[in-house]
Symmetry: D5
Subunit: 95 residues, 10 copies
């Protein structure tokens, strides 16, 4: 089941740079794992912001919540979730 | 080059049902063509609305404008475009 | 899987009263059916508005979209969907 | 009498983790008690946020205010209250 | 139990002036009755708008909904309801 | 002359609890005085928030500004003022 | 007593041009009269809009309401009123 | 050339009171000077806020920017500028 | 003197296509003239919308108002004007 | 390819003045370089704010993201990017 997830990251100015670097590395590793599992289907960065738009493919909403709240940078994320539905055949999608 | 495009369709209540059906059919054919050309990379419907979120892959912004304003349902669409950027390697995407 | 759905109904002033009454009756019958099936889990009316807040229990987002767009009054509804997750045990819910 | 209550929790980054853990435990205990009393009728977590949507069943607005301001995490909550009304028979609810 | 109710009236430009005048008269009579019953406790007009802010004193939310949707001008009203609570002694009210 | 005043109080988390308690006591005393003078005509607490809605009866806007900025908790208040007008006879108020 | 009034005029596209011209002429005459009486103290047009920002000097809010609702173009106006206060000496005004 | 300028002042709670008092005094002196030069044509305080609405009369936008950014309290100001135009004769202003 | 002007065009669905085509042609001719006079310095179309962002170079705000309200499509335009200032030397512009 | 970029700078009050001055100097040098390369086509300051509106001419969105996130003051910038398209001939631009 697909969800569109818009994530905006805001780091408080007083955050320790070393801690932040470590969190970013964990985030990369964590994201790679979710990607390998086919959960984090797509992610694109929004130009000019520390923000991205993503598509997650999960078995249910509880799994999505667990994934999002388990992201290393979660405490700094403002997250908006939009439920999507898939359509067949593809050519019907835009109508 | 990738763009995130959010489209909301609003049909004025007085629209002739026959005209609308014809436009929807044209929209499906048109969308299928753009999909076959690799321009309309992804489209998902938003649950509970006549709206979708899409990813377009175009050579420049002028092409994107031509595509969007050429959609048969364009006169009824409220469109928001967000510039995206691709990242390599994928595991770096979330940071 | 649970979704919170906020529905606001707006009837264009020029709507034929007879047509509207017929749609309302269909809506009641349709809602009763969805309720009997355990899909439309809860619905409460918002005081002072033609609006309600609901909880739907569906197997996936595609089913939810089909249910919402199939409501007789759907063309007059402004719908917002929020993905929810269930928690166990209940006492953990508020934290 | 029913009220829809939307609660968003925001913890200032400088909060002491021990204090926060203690407050969370108190919140769980407190919520369980209100649930047992039939006051906190429903609570669901919003996916991707530290937020929930709830239904409270109280005898009046003063009781609701006392309950909400008495929650251990209240100082960190942004709360929106919407008055609901119950309808009979259920099948009439959606119209 | 007290509720703050903010009402904004918008009359579609094509409304028949005679119908509107009749509705206004009904509204005055209806309001006077609710006032006499002690339900519509206060009402003040907002300067520069066809809008008012009111305090209703009702036994429950279902009664409030019945009162508001029963107003002759209800179809033209945009209504926002805010639950209030009374405090004793009065001098404690502002804190 | 009447004004509707909506007040939202936000206390910075680092405020000293003793200072806050003292300010609250001053606020109660100050409010009682304004109430006794007939200036602070009504005040109701908004459920679920440290906020209230009030009606002030003042001789002019300069007096209202002096009253509001003189409240002990003023530095923590976000205040919105709406000019109201009184109508006679009461039954005409709602139209 | 001074009030800042922001007025935005929106004419429905189907308005009869002759009726509109007549209303505009009445508006000019009416405004000139209020200006001569010292009630409509200042008015400036907002660049690029049919909108203006004004200062009214009235004896009370009831008078202001009567003036604003008596403007010939009032049915097409969206009006926002902000209560102002005068300060002496002038040099103290900006602080 | 006239500009409407809306200024909202927000002082961070940790500001040193002595520094603030000094800045306020500078602001008064500075404002008096701009007033004497005919640049700061009007200023009124908004009731219930540390905010004002002003009319500036400047030779061009660069001068206005220099004036606003040169105000002693500028670092604490949130400023919105609206371009105005003067009309002749006055009686034409409101149309 | 420079102004940033954001223009959004909305054509009511019932507009006569012939009238609209004629207005568009007038708009092109009118725009070309303003461009030749050096008044309409820049104009770019916003992707996915009938909207553009422009820079106007005018001698004062009254001239800008006359230009904008004189555009053939003005009745269908929603216009926002932002005052800009030029800086020298260019390298100082971004700070 | 052109993009409209709106930049608002907010400096946290506790920022060290020396660090800020150094960053501003770097920003000027950096901006001058981008200007010399023809990437930062236009920049105008918004009157009354530390904000500017800019036009960037870049080969793709990835380059734009690299430029924006590489600005010395980027950590203090709130950036909005709007995709533009160029039109030929110029006289067609406004329609």
């Amino acid at each position: 089941m697909l969800f569109y997830v818009s994530i905006k990251v805001t780091i408080p100015p007083e955050t320790d740079p070393g801690t932040l670097e470590a969190l970013k590395k964990e985030e990369v590793a964590h994201a790679a794992e979710l990607e390998a599992q086919g959960k984090w289907l797509h992610v694109w960065r929004v130009v000019g912001k520390w923000a991205n738009v993503s598509i997650f493919d999960v078995s249910d909403t509880t799994e999505l919540h667990a994934i999002l709240t388990g992201l290393p940078l979660y405490p700094f994320m403002d997250i908006e979730v939009t439920a999507l539905c898939e359509m067949h055949p593809p050519a019907a999608k835009a109508v």
